[in-house]
């Protein structure tokens, strides 16, 4: 789960990490009022989950309340990588002497918690890693204990001045505490700045959380911005399904995440365009199939649906009952291709006999049939 910069900064502030003061605004007038109250230079910053908002024009530094109003009017409603800006963070301007980078993340390769620190901040860290790898400092821990010695060594180098070792080290310690206490997958400060009056502050903040741990952090769940999420993904989650929308027109309903990905890949490989990833999950409650149909069809441009089930825990007869019930409860006016294999497949197929569903014997057969049913042409070159 992702949160906004202003929410990340509120978490930082609670943890004792210095951040600039700011006010959230949802209208240009609110932004002007916040700027007037502050009285000096302010930054108007778009609050969206998508990265690269600076390049997209989502951040403006202004001197007067009128300019703040104009900047906010321009930024609010702006589309940044598919996210509409609904809120801006009006933040006290900082007088920047130097910019550094600091992050803590889960490193899957080494099964550790990795710190990345760099004296080159304020720019894309992947670019720094590629062009000037010597400017990147990395150290890690395989326990949930702060790696004091390595952190101290890195802290002294961040602003290339030992005078700031203690303040940087303190921020590292607190950032690690946020990471562990809130079950984060990433906490990032880019840039971490040294101001002209010699203070070290977090000028930006990015925090991502481990979805599996949200059950023990109701306070974090409350930070979820529904406006940033696909309503279908949220609905699917509440029904025990896993759904991600794609660009195509062939709906997919599959059991198991791996098989669901394979189904999308196969549809594409055979010349079709998958409309979604959808995993109905392990247990095969017929209700889930009905919800899955509703979510898939809500996308609008669906030309055909492929149901691909490999029964293990999932019982094919339960899926078949769900399909029949779906046809009773909702309008399904596109062709539906069904492939059932595994546990109780025969019973499932028997239940579907006489319905207008298109049965398919194998995975590949099902993919070919759904592409034809959607009005597309099957491509076979991949077999070479």
């Amino acid at each position: 789960m992702k949160i906004h910069e202003y929410q990340a900064k509120q978490l930082f502030q609670q943890a004792g990490i210095p951040v600039p003061t700011g006010v959230l605004a949802t209208t240009p007038d609110e932004a002007a009022a916040a700027a007037a109250k502050h009285g000096g230079i302010v930054a108007i910053k778009a609050q969206v989950h998508a990265g690269g908002r600076g390049k997209a024009g989502g951040i403006k530094v202004v001197k007067t309340p009128d300019d703040a109003r104009a900047a906010a009017a321009k930024i609010l409603g702006m589309d940044i990588k598919g996210s509409t800006v609904r809120k801006v963070w009006v933040e006290a301007g900082s007088s920047i002497a130097r910019e550094a980078y600091l992050s803590v993340m889960l490193d899957r390769s080494t099964r550790s918690i990795l710190f990345i620190a760099s004296a080159a901040g304020g720019i894309d860290i992947e670019e720094v890693a590629e062009k000037t790898p010597e400017k990147i400092l990395k150290f890690s821990t395989t326990s949930l204990t702060f790696p004091e010695a390595e952190a101290r060594a890195a802290a002294g180098q961040l602003f290339e001045d030992a005078a700031y070792t203690e303040s940087v080290l303190d921020i590292m310690r607190k950032l690690f505490a946020v990471f562990v206490e809130k079950d984060c997958s990433l906490v990032e400060i880019n840039p971490l700045v040294l101001t002209h009056d010699k203070k070290v502050i977090a000028l930006d903040g990015k925090v991502n959380f481990d979805d599996n741990a949200l059950f023990r952090h109701p306070d974090i769940e409350e930070l979820r911005d529904m406006g940033e999420e696909d309503p279908n993904e949220i609905l699917a989650k509440s029904k025990g399904l896993s759904y991600v929308q794609l660009d195509g027109d062939i709906g997919c309903m599959v059991n198991g995440a791996g098989l669901a990905m394979a189904t999308m890949d196969m549809v594409k490989l055979f010349g079709g365009q998958p409309a979604n990833f959808l995993d109905v999950g392990g247990s095969s409650n017929p209700e889930k199939v009905i919800h899955a149909f509703k979510i898939i069809l809500s996308k609008g441009n669906i030309k055909a649906v492929l149901i691909n089930i490999f029964g293990g825990i999932t019982r094919c007869d339960d899926i078949a009952r769900g399909i029949l019930e779906s046809f009773k409860q909702i309008t399904i006016d596109v062709p539906v291709v069904v492939r059932l294999t595994g546990t109780n497949a025969e019973q499932g197929l028997a239940l579907l006999e006489g319905s207008k569903l298109i049965p398919a014997a194998t995975f590949a057969d099902a993919v070919r049939k759904v592409i034809v049913a959607s009005g597309g042409t099957v491509v076979e070159e991949h077999n070479q």
Binding site: R111, L259, G342, N383
Partner: protein
């Protein structure tokens, strides 16, 4: 032969009185697995499917001489259940549970490694040595005893692939579902040497998916250490960046972890990568005939 598991492996089921634990304990017993007991705190003294239930792992291991355990307890309690098994002296632990927080697994991972224990999963279907025994949730009927080793990050996709292999008459020595989480106890690089050493495995099918760099590192590992033929299949070509595709570990982030990058790494290591499941079964058959 087979790896990790055979008909003599003595298995305990943690969470045996729960819905999933009870159902799969029965399935495992029916397949031929030597299930010697189960554990559910507070329910010791009962018996289920003809095996005794114990209150804790230490008691269960002492009474049954078990050497493996399988975990069906909810995510909240699963890390403690893994550690209970580890500290009771179990050497092979299979965690089926999905949804364990990754920081919990970080601690568990390093502790079981330190103790020299093999942990399979979490968020996995388990493992099966066809014709001998299975530990987990996979349908036994699709498997065929034989000489192909299977390693996979997925559940149902593995069944699909095993089914395709079986339909071509290609039986399996052992199939291991390593799990779909960012941190799992055992990876392909732990299992490949076991298959390499197993005299009854001729080749290995490796099923990967987007996210992380395990496949890339595995490709290099194969190039250096594995002489038996390996055949790969990768899913998630069509997954958009930054979206978790069901499995907690299946996510392309910052342009890394893509299907393309994994295929490139395998090709570079001389490992053929199939486009489709049928093709995977076909190239495995052809590759093993040579």
């Amino acid at each position: 032969m087979s790896i990790l598991l055979d008909q003599n492996t003595r298995v305990l089921v943690q969470g045996i009185t729960g819905r999933d634990g009870s159902f799969h304990a029965k399935q495992m017993i029916d397949y031929g697995t030597k299930v010697v007991g189960g554990v559910t705190p507070g329910k010791g003294g009962q018996s289920i499917h003809g095996v005794p239930v114990f209150n804790d792992m230490k008691e269960a291991v002492a009474a049954t001489k078990a050497d493996a355990s399988v975990i069906y307890v909810p995510a909240k309690f699963a890390p403690a259940a893994i550690m209970d098994a580890a500290h009771a002296g179990i050497k092979l632990i299979i965690a089926i549970t999905e949804g364990i927080p990754v920081l919990d697994m970080l601690e568990v991972y390093h502790e079981v490694r330190r103790l020299g224990i093999t942990l399979i999963g979490p968020n996995c279907p388990g493992l099966i040595s066809p014709g001998k025994a299975k530990i987990g949730i996979m349908p036994g009927s699709i498997h065929l005893p034989g000489r192909v080793g299977v390693i996979s990050r997925s559940g149902t996709l593995t069944y699909e692939i095993v089914y395709a292999l079986t339909n071509l008459g290609l039986g399996q020595s052992t199939c291991v579902g390593i799990g779909g989480d960012p941190i799992v106890g055992t990876g392909p690089m732990d299992l490949l040497p076991l298959f390499e050493k197993d005299p009854d495995t001729d080749g290995i099918v490796l099923i990967g998916e987007i996210g992380g760099d395990e496949e890339e590192r595995t490709a290099e590992f194969i190039r250096q250490h594995i002489t038996k033929p390996v055949f790969a299949f990768i899913v998630g070509h069509t997954a958009p960046e930054g979206k978790r595709m069901g499995h907690a570990g299946a996510i392309v982030s910052g342009g890394s972890g893509t299907a393309g990058s994994k295929i490139k790494a395998f090709s570079h290591a001389g490992v053929p990568v199939a486009n489709t499941i049928d093709q995977l079964a076909a190239i495995t058959q052809m590759g093993l005939k040579k």
